[in-house]
Subunit: 198 residues, 4 copies
DNA sequence: AATGAATGAGGGTTCATTCAT
DNA sequence: GATGAATGAACCCTCATTCAT
């Protein structure tokens, strides 16, 4: 890659980064192309040259974001930790990467975009499924998950918890800084309301 | 209330109803005052006369919505059902009332509105807390919730599950029409990943 | 019509007039809504409130213009003049009304507008046809037009001459100010290249 | 001319051809440099290297077009046909070359371009005049044109008819496929509304 | 109280043109 | 000479809001 292309790639990265930053803060609709251009220090037109339209930009931002989240999850699973620790790490995303995942807002943006829906569908089936399956196996092996647990339901449960947590920073922050809240919630996810029978 | 005031009140209701309907479908930003005025069959100015501004209207819509959701929860708790049934009813909102609760979108609208934040804060402390407490007591009494469970954590857990479920209709719908999925998820909420020890 | 509506109608007229003026000078594409708004001393949005879009405005301008041209033609025919005089008046449009008829430009604007095409089609069939027929009858009665001349061809010939003349002010002006050129051209239209046999 | 320069010349031709094609279809304003570059398979900048600006390109396109039309007329006149046949061929341009002559649109492009006006002026005086004169002489010789017909008026009449016909494809096409319409119109051009006295 | 008309500010997008390689 | 990348200016249009009745 010569200097020309590297510079181009740098600008593209800068745009994506600035867009992500702003979308996180204010949502897709409220952020204008002009805002992003200013933040990335490029002309508006450069954004159009790279992404074609605002929708095109949103698409790329969402794709990049989901990929990053998945990479993070893969990494967590590879680490040498217990199942509860991994579960907690994935759901609460201490690295803050996934906090960028604006649950509902993302859905809103994707709702009327068939191409995006297809991409996500295949992303889910091909990439996420594998990661989830790995985690499930480990949970069963270590005795934290019932052997009867189906993969499908486990995957759904996991995502609901993730989205629920991401959608509730206001509530969680109210309880902090007692950091134990994460541990206790995680306990609930594993043992349920009933708690561990002992 | 005379006929004149009743008519006035009707218009206000119509505006709120139309606004809610449209906000549900397209989110706050995408719906214009003009859209709402057309749907409610009033002039734009009438909306301003009643609500002062778009933000004012949003505020009232959110308040009305949250109140309705709470009423629904109260009603569920009063019914003659078991704790798991009530839990399921509240979280999955079969009545679809809470599906109007555009999780993340609502937060986005509230984020920069201190007045609204105050209202919600007190709403949570005074009204929601009571309902949650009732449910928690019942869960403990019937043996579905560990006696050691704190009210604060229970409330947080409940809200995370609610928001997670509301944010995941795409995933849940993919599994349907096997309606058992609701029951099985509810089972997970109560007994956790580990499942009931028996 | 009360004062409110009269004022509204005045603004609409002002917009149409300004638009026509500018379109005449620079063509449809080169004139921006902003230009028209400035010329008519209204806000851009007012134009949108009245005409919906730039295309909508163009439509109305074209319709108004064609109607005015036709009215002028009707008036000419009613006057107490000879056939050649009327022919000349219609084709050369000394009143300059029809000089506003930007032949090709208008067609360009209409090309991709089915609704407009329909309107023009019916306008031609219902209104123009009648006027043309009146003129043709008179021409035959006075002996300036061959009795064998079909109405269809006469109408086509007339329009070709009109459009050709409108499209050629550059050439005609080069010959002026010898005003006789109009008379001589008109002579050509009636007697052809061969001239009158006498 | 070596291979290098030939290649360069080819690109220039390709650009002119693509530009003409697109201008014909959509007019000068609606076609962007980017469109032309894509159609000619060159970079936008190459167009600027060759023509300096969009206006420069338009100038060259117009010049090339007018030259082609004139060449065609010359060719027609050289053929072994009667005057009416030649007149018809020139006015109706069955070869479709002149259909590229976007009457009014071209004028619009030329209007504010003094350089272009000068070029056209001299083109008219030096080249077109000669061709017209040849045709006029032939018409008089064969007895189809009155001996008293001045060259100036004949030229003007011819151009008006040409432009009128080019501006009226919509009307002419409505009468087709009765191909006789061309002949009958041509008859009108020669003998006028009054028709041949016999 | 209610409305139709009007608007300033701003949004996404396209264009002719220039820069850097 | 040719190109991909970048841009300032402008365009059409929409919105929340106010004015005049």
């Amino acid at each position: 890659m010569n200097g020309f292309e590297r510079k181009k790639e740098q600008k593209k990265k800068a745009i994506l980064q600035a867009a992500l930053e702003l979308f996180k803060l204010h949502g897709f609709k409220k952020v204008s192309i002009s805002d992003i251009a200013r933040a990335a220090d490029v002309s508006q037109v450069t954004i159009y040259n790279h992404f074609g339209s605002k929708d095109g930009l949103i698409r790329e931002v969402v794709k990049a974001l989901l990929s990053r989240i998945l990479d993070k999850a893969r990494e967590i699973i590879r680490e040498d930790k217990s199942f509860p620790e991994k579960l907690e790490a994935i759901i609460f995303d201490k690295t803050k990467i996934a906090s960028e995942y604006q649950g509902e807002l993302m859905r809103a943006a994707v709702r009327n975009d068939p191409e995006m829906q297809d991409w996500i569908e295949s992303f889910w089936q091909e990439d996420v499924k594998q990661v989830t399956l790995d985690l499930l196996k480990e949970g069963k092996r270590e005795g934290y998950v019932s052997p009867r647990q189906s993969e499908e339901l486990f995957s759904l449960y996991l995502e609901i918890l993730r989205r629920g947590v991401f959608a509730s920073p206001d509530l969680i922050n109210k309880i902090e800084p007692d950091v134990e809240v994460y541990r206790e919630l995680n306990y609930l996810f594993i043992y349920g309301l009933m708690g561990k029978k002992d």
